[in-house]
């Protein structure tokens, strides 16, 4: 019964490890493995999100090809942004740059481009973003993101302006077949203190992505602040049965099939509204941009380029090789010192590291040096958990216990220290994460997150993986030779006791 259970567990571990290996296998293996062998390129993992009718929802598919590495390890894209003050001469440049840099920071958080770097460079802002292309960077970070509400331009007779061969012409509204050619002007309303202002995204309280209950298509639900609601009420009142279009940075927002997104106003509304018909990825981007806010003045991208690792490509490469060498040496040491258990620990640690890396890739965690440090620390703790178990096993074997009893006792006795050290590490992580989050210290936050993931999996690995491997190995008669379990070099702890001549297996459960 026990044995069957162990085998099921082993099968489960092998499955998880295989899935993790496929997931974490690097997309550019030559960076990490000896170059002489043509290693296969990792394809990562792709889990499509399929609706009941069998169609795949783009945007919602989970796809992870390469590990997200930080600026310090891999580099990314560098954008240089320059404020354009030509239309707002009375704006203070310092204020504009400070504001813009705060908004960029918010966008970075909204889009989850972790571990980015913002820097003032003379009268410009330089932003370095890891793991995204220059084009994505411009779409996500470089846009002014000014949302405007526009109405049709009409003359005194109610005719609508359309563009005909580059010329504006007024035609009766009934003859307009496509709103794509129409001329749109900012919808203006009067504020509470009597000023006439255009309604823009600055009056938004928040925006969120939702699904249209009827069509299942994405929509952006937004809510105005008090002043915005006051303006929106006047505009929708004036434009009943008329179209209202949304413009972002002077360009109309379009529906999934490429037309100007201009719904007809059905009733007077004030505090909330929605934009429907957009493509999922665009809607998703827009919500994030709206929530992060628009730049106070337009910023233009004056330079964009790919940049290498800030720690230096060569330096990172050298460290990868050094780290791998160290891992091999540690495994060798473990096997020499702990014999067969050392080998089992090596196998368990390989499984452990594979799972952790797969989780990092799936979430995804942006790995930086501090993340690697946390990972290495968690590997160290996992090694230590194994060492604790084996030391205890050795002690039990020395006082004459059978192999099975010694193994179970070793686990039992080592468990309290593994539990307490790991729990206190998790408490530390929780506090560091919270502080890092509150104070915007992303370095501290990233460290805490990666360490917590590592420690969680390390506990799983100590309880489940090492234990199952040990149990399976103990059930193989050839593996029960004492010399495989206790080295004669011994440790200093139990000076007087002799080692048993053989290790019987009886007496266990």
């Amino acid at each position: 019964m026990h044995r069957t259970f162990d085998r099921i567990l082993l099968a489960f571990i092998v499955l998880v490890a295989a899935f993790s290996l496929v997931t974490m296998w690097p997309s550019e293996p030559w960076h990490y493995l000896p170059g002489a062998i043509p290693w296969p390129e990792g394809q990562g993992i792709k889990i499509p999100f399929i609706k009941f009718d069998g169609t795949e929802v783009k945007g919602a598919t989970l796809e992870r090809r390469a590990m997200t590495l930080g600026l310090d390890l891999k580099g990314g894209t560098r954008l240089v942004l320059e404020p354009d003050l030509s239309n707002s001469p009375d704006v203070n440049l310092d204020d504009a740059l400070n504001n813009a840099s705060q908004i960029i920071e918010r966008r970075i958080n909204e889009f989850g481009v972790a571990e980015s770097e913002i820097q003032r460079q003379g009268n410009r802002l330089a932003v370095q973003l890891p793991g995204i292309t220059a084009e994505e960077a411009m779409q996500k970070i470089g846009r002014t993101a000014l949302l405007e509400f526009r109405e049709l331009k009409t003359d005194a007779n109610g005719n609508v302006a359309v563009m005909v061969n580059g010329q504006e012409a007024f035609v009766p509204q009934s003859s307009v077949t496509s709103l794509d050619d129409a001329v749109w002007i900012q919808a203006v309303a009067t504020t509470r203190d009597g000023q006439s202002v255009p309604l823009t995204g600055q009056y938004l309280k928040n925006a969120r992505l939702a699904a249209d209950p009827n069509t299942g298509l994405p929509l952006i639900a937004f809510e105005f602040n008090d002043e915005g609601a006051h303006l929106f009420e006047q505009i929708t009142g004036r434009l009943l049965k008329q179209p209202l279009a949304f413009f972002l940075d002077g360009e109309p927002i379009t529906t999934a099939d490429g037309h100007v997104d201009a719904p007809i106003v059905q009733s007077v509304i004030s505090d909330r509204g929605q934009i429907t018909g957009m493509r999922v990825d665009e809607a998703n981007n827009l919500v994030k941009l709206l929530n992060a806010g628009a730049f106070p003045v337009p910023l233009k991208v004056v330079q964009s380029e790919n940049v290498d690792a800030t720690l230096g490509q060569d330096s990172v490469q050298a460290s990868v090789i050094a780290g791998e060498t160290a891992m091999l040496v540690i495994m060798l040491f473990m096997v020499l010192y702990y014999r067969l258990p050392g080998l089992i620990a090596g196998a368990a640690l390989t499984v452990y590291a594979t799972i952790v890396l797969a989780v990092f890739k799936l979430l995804p965690v942006t790995l930086t040096l501090s993340g690697i440090a946390a990972f290495v620390l968690s590997v160290g703790m996992a090694v230590d958990a194994n060492v604790l178990i084996f030391e205890r096993m050795k002690e039990e074997l020395r006082i004459g216990r059978s192999l099975v009893v010694a193994m179970e006792e070793g686990f039992h006795r080592a468990w309290s220290s593994i539990r307490d050290s790991n729990v206190s590490t998790l408490i530390t992580c929780a506090i560091l994460y919270w502080f890092g989050d509150q104070f915007g210290a992303s370095l501290v936050k990233g460290f805490a997150l990666t360490l917590a993931i590592g420690v969680f999996i390390s506990m799983f690995s100590a309880i489940l993986v090492t234990r199952t491997f040990l149990r399976i190995v103990v059930s193989i008669p050839a593996a029960r030779k004492p010399a495989l379990w206790v080295s004669h070099a011994g440790s200093k702890d139990d000076g007087g006791s002799r080692e048993p001549a053989s290790l019987p297996t009886g007496g266990g459960g």
């Binding site: 820097q119 940049v307 800030t310 230096g312 050290s421 210290a441 501290v444 200093k492 702890d493």
Partner: protein
């Protein structure tokens, strides 16, 4: 049998002797030199015609008196170099052009001499009117820091809060033995011992080898704290177990046995960490050295403090060493170091 608790006052003295220079160094400004990530500085971009290795460029910057320079590749033989403020450099020459006077110019000249012809932004060779190659920077400007100086203070606050969390947890987890609060306090003192020691050591390195504090240092310190707490708990756990099993054994014997029983593990664990850090120091990249130095010092002191600080504090407290020390000092009868009772 080895006795680890007999000479506990000597261990405290040793700790003090090791801590003291570091603390003095921390007090003498600059205690810890803030690195270029935290402060404004200069940045310029250069592009070379010939193949130039990042390592060589970094080494050259170091020879030119800028070991802090961050060299980042931005294309074929093209590099963005961030340094501390360069003397007499122009505020900004975004379009490139002839070098501004001052340190910037001499660095560009030196790089030109060392690595050969330089290219303009459009990839053409930078020449003077007669067609002779000249030194050229693609762009150069003054830049702000990338990391707020506040991070040091925030990290300190976070660590302090974490220390309280650990203190409470250990006190709770050790509730099955008498005076669990002592265990919590002992572990916290041991961890603070390691933090101060590492910071002190780094401060001395800063003064001697010109090492600056950067985010890597903070990462290293967080890692050391994690390691130190972990290691201390393993030793304390054994004390807890022995205390429960043999409640009649005097504490100093119990602590001594526990240290002996966990010694093999302690040495092995810290040996494996020291081994990997040394491997990285020897053959790894130069840019992560600050992190590795912190790790190396921190691992050794983290292991040391579990055995020679945390565990010893428990015995000191139990045996009432401190009140006895006061009793001896106040009547002024014993001018020498306290011996064991």
């Amino acid at each position: 049998m080895l006795d680890f608790v007999q000479k506990r006052n000597w261990y405290y003295l040793l700790s003090l002797l090791v801590l003291l220079p570091g603390v003095i160094s921390l007090v003498i400004p600059p205690g810890l030199k803030p690195g270029i990530e935290f402060s404004s500085g200069s940045m310029f971009e250069v592009s070379f015609q010939n193949t130039v290795k990042e390592t060589d460029l970094r080494a050259e910057m170091s020879t030119l008196g800028h070991p802090e320079a961050r060299v980042q590749g931005t294309g074929q033989n093209r590099f963005l170099i961030r340094t501390s403020v360069l003397e007499g450099s122009a505020e900004q020459t975004p379009q490139g052009g002839p070098q501004p006077l001052g340190e910037q110019q001499s660095i560009t000249r030196a790089l030109f001499t060392q690595f050969g012809p330089m290219l303009k932004d459009d990839g053409s060779l930078a020449t003077d009117s007669t067609g002779q190659p000249i030194p050229w920077t693609v762009q150069s400007s003054a830049v702000s820091g990338t990391v707020s100086r506040e991070i040091g203070r925030k990290a300190t606050l976070a660590v302090a809060a974490a220390a309280v969390g650990i203190l409470l947890y250990i006190t709770w987890a050790f509730r099955s033995i008498p005076n669990p609060l002592r265990c919590g306090i002992a572990a916290t003192i041991a961890t603070m011992h390691d933090v101060v020691l590492v910071m002190g050591a780094y401060s001395i390195f800063g003064k001697v080898f010109n090492m600056e504090v950067n985010t890597m240092f903070i990462t290293g310190l967080l890692t050391v704290i994690g390691f130190s707490v972990h290691d201390t708990i393993v030793v304390l756990d054994r004390i807890r177990e022995n205390r429960q099993r043999y409640p009649d054994l005097p504490l100093h014997e119990c602590v001594n046995n526990s240290i002996l029983q966990t010694l093999g593990r302690s040495i092995n664990t810290s040996f494996t960490v020291v081994l990997s850090v040394t491997a990285l120091l020897l053959i790894g990249g130069v840019t992560i050295r600050p992190f590795l130095v912190v790790m190396l010092v921190g691992t050794i002191t983290g292991t040391y403090s579990s055995i020679f600080v945390a565990s010893q504090i428990l015995v000191t407290w139990e045996e009432g060493d401190i009140p006895r020390l006061f009793r001896r000092i106040i009547p002024k009868r014993a001018p020498t170091v306290v011996e064991e009772g």
